[in-house]
Amino acid sequence: MSMTLKLGTKLGAVAAVLAVVATGCSDDDGGGSKSEVDVKTSEDCATRTEEARDAGDLKEVKLQLQWVSQAQFAGYYAGVAQCYYVDEGLDVKIVEGGVDIVPQDVLASGDVDYAISWVPKVLGSIEQGAGITDVAQIFERSATTQISFKGKDIGAPADLKGANVGSWGFGNEWELFAGMQSAGVQLEDINLVQQAFDMNAFLAGDIDAAQAMTYNEYAQVLESVNPDTGELYTPDDLNVINWNDVGTAMLQDAIWATTDKLSDPDYEAQTVAFIKASIKGWAFVRDNPEDAAEIVAASGSELGQSHQLWMTNEINKLIWPSTNGVGIIDQAAWDQTVDIALNTKNETGATIITEAPPESAFTNEYVEQALAELEDEGVDTLGADYQPIEVTLEEGGK
């Protein structure tokens, strides 16, 4: 009897330790879920959102991003922060991506209503059966470049021959391969190097020509100290091969919707409203890049201030000025993307897709309606006289 009693006390002590371990450290969890981004809205908009929510006027819509919070998605953050979505009757929840999150898969499985992803990445998913549609091509230009130090003398794709060429792989390599192959450089002619998320291998000289997004890795180099001068690197130190100029650019960030649901008039109307408010958000980012960068930072992006502003400015350049109105899918650009996806082989001899994508892969129907409504409201969706701002990068992007 006493044995059981003693045991009981001991087990009680153990349980207490367990409880301390389990609860003691989770104070910071807070109440709500962290799956969705808590976008910092202005006080006025926060009240309006609350009121509309309470009145039951809002339809909840989830948007899956391709990556974590950063200015690449500033337009959607601005749409929430400035109440553009609320004006359209939408309560938009932004869901961040992660290393292993594939936005088009999340969308196809019905967990979210819209997703942001690159066209070539989605074309492969569509061929494998994902029923999703590009309803607005937000980025008109590609941000992927191949950069090298001036001394390496790599100014054009043909110069890549014999060089150590960096690439992240995982679907980021196609513009590079297409550009090389258009210049007669085959994969055997280069030494393909797997590139990490930072630019250290490039700065150390292990990679001669590194892949760099204009809005991110290019800035990472310019935020680093050149040991020869003791100052930051400058654009003069670098050669940039821009795939837009070479003619092998592929379409990047687009808004994707579920194809099946597009036969439902409610979802169609919601799609128009979502695109409309999103474009309005991007117009805000164009006109107020500093404020937009601040909104993104206040909504949980950990990028440094100058890096965030640089990214905002570079993203603006991908959208503005817009040739046909933001979001319109240009047939020629689409065809170029599909052509590269069909005909460019990677190091294993595979292509992204083996047959042309179905008609349902894109439609301009909804974005045209959205643009017409925006025009009526007097929103400039072309940005013909758009001028980028000057951003000074700080060491480490601080």
């Binding site: 044995m3 059981t4 045991l7 001991k10 002590a13 153990v14 330790v17 367990l18 301390v20 371990v21 389990a22 003691g24 450290c25 989770s26 104070d27 910071d28 969890d29 879920s33 962290k34 799956s35 981004v37 990556w67 974590v68 961040e96 991506g97 992660g98 290393v99 292993d100 999150i101 594939v102 999340v106 499985s109 967990d111 998320f197 930072d198 630019m199 250290n200 700065l203 150390a204 991110n216 990472q220 180099v221 935020e223 680093s224 100290v225 040991p227 930051l232 930072a297 949980g300 950990e302 990028l303 440094g304 201030q305 100058s306 890096h307 700080e394 060491e395 480490g396 992007g397 601080k398």
Partner: protein, 293 residues
């Protein structure tokens, strides 16, 4: 007296161990070749540049500086502290779930041979599935779940993934422990006509403690790794895993910064192991049978 001296000695040795790592780091940085050591084309020792190996004091100093130039940016150490507590909380949740499941599995397997034959291969197979494959699945399946009023969140997904890694050592360790009593002791119990439950509580569980403690410690380490990696995988905000991704952007321009979350991870690893150590103290009286100390 001797015991206090032992403790003191252990603490000194522990500090010496840390100091050795730091000194080796900085000595190599000071005297190692700038381009590192290459065997053929393979670099076996790293470069010693500021970018590849920041000075230990630079990394410490960086912890005291604000994370960014934003006016309300916290000091790095504060940010790392918050992220560490967040990840530790998730790891602890995962650990508790993993330990409970591991113990239940071990109980079932030790009780019935057929269950052991049926389950053990699956338990082992479960650990060969790569984390990057299950992370998105857990998130997707979880989002279909709704338990009572509780809506599944990404935190739950991370805790489940941490538990997925943590249950394995517990299941295997506890199974061995539960089967460890001498046959003579078990037969004595049977001879006295003592039932399954009391045999479990008075004999099997106490004698499993020496096997269980290392398993629990291993589970704690696995839960921490699982939580951090799962955060990276599904991009959950607030913890160390996400901080690793966020700070990687500064690897070239601010090379000391990406080390900050690594120190946080070391810290919570130590705390987790320490907490299990405390558990070991509580369980010390049970280290009686079977295995010699």
């Amino acid at each position: 007296m001797a015991q206090i001296w032992d403790r003191f000695q252990a603490a000194i040795l522990g500090l010496l161990g840390v100091a050795t790592v730091v000194v080796t780091w900085d000595l190599y940085k000071a005297f190692g070749p700038a381009e590192g050591v290459l065997v053929g084309d393979t670099r076996v020792l790293p470069r010693t540049t500021e970018r590849a190996m920041p000075h230990s004091w630079d990394m410490l100093q960086r912890l005291g500086e604000p994370v960014s130039a934003l006016p309300d940016a916290p000091d790095a150490v504060r940010a790392v502290w918050d992220a560490s507590m967040f990840s530790l909380g998730l790891a602890a949740r995962g650990w508790v779930i993993g330990v409970v499941i591991g113990l239940l599995l071990a109980l079932a397997m030790s009780g019935f041979r057929i269950v052991e034959s049926a389950l053990l291969p699956w338990v082992i197979l479960s650990q060969t599935v790569p984390l990057i494959a299950i992370a998105p699945l857990v998130r997707r399946w979880g989002s279909e779940l709704q338990i009572g009023g509780h809506v599944w969140s990404s935190e739950d997904s991370v805790a489940v993934i941490a538990a997925y890694l943590a249950f394995f050592p517990v299941a295997v360790g506890a199974l061995r422990g539960l089967k460890s009593p001498d046959k003579t002791h078990l037969e004595l119990m049977r001879a006295y006509g003592i039932g399954w439950w009391r045999t479990l509580v008075t004999l099997r569980l106490p004698s499993s403690v020496p096997y269980l403690l290392p398993a629990l410690r291993l589970a704690a380490a696995s839960a921490v790794i699982g939580a951090v990696v799962a955060e990276v995988s599904i991009g959950l905000k607030g913890g160390l895993g996400r901080m690793v991704i966020d700070y990687a952007v500064a690897a070239s321009g601010d090379p000391a910064k990406p080390w900050a979350p690594i120190f946080g991870a070391i810290g919570i690893g130590l705390v987790a192991a320490g907490a299990v150590g405390l558990l070991g103290l509580a369980l010390r009286p049970f280290r009686l049978t079977g295995v010699s100390r």
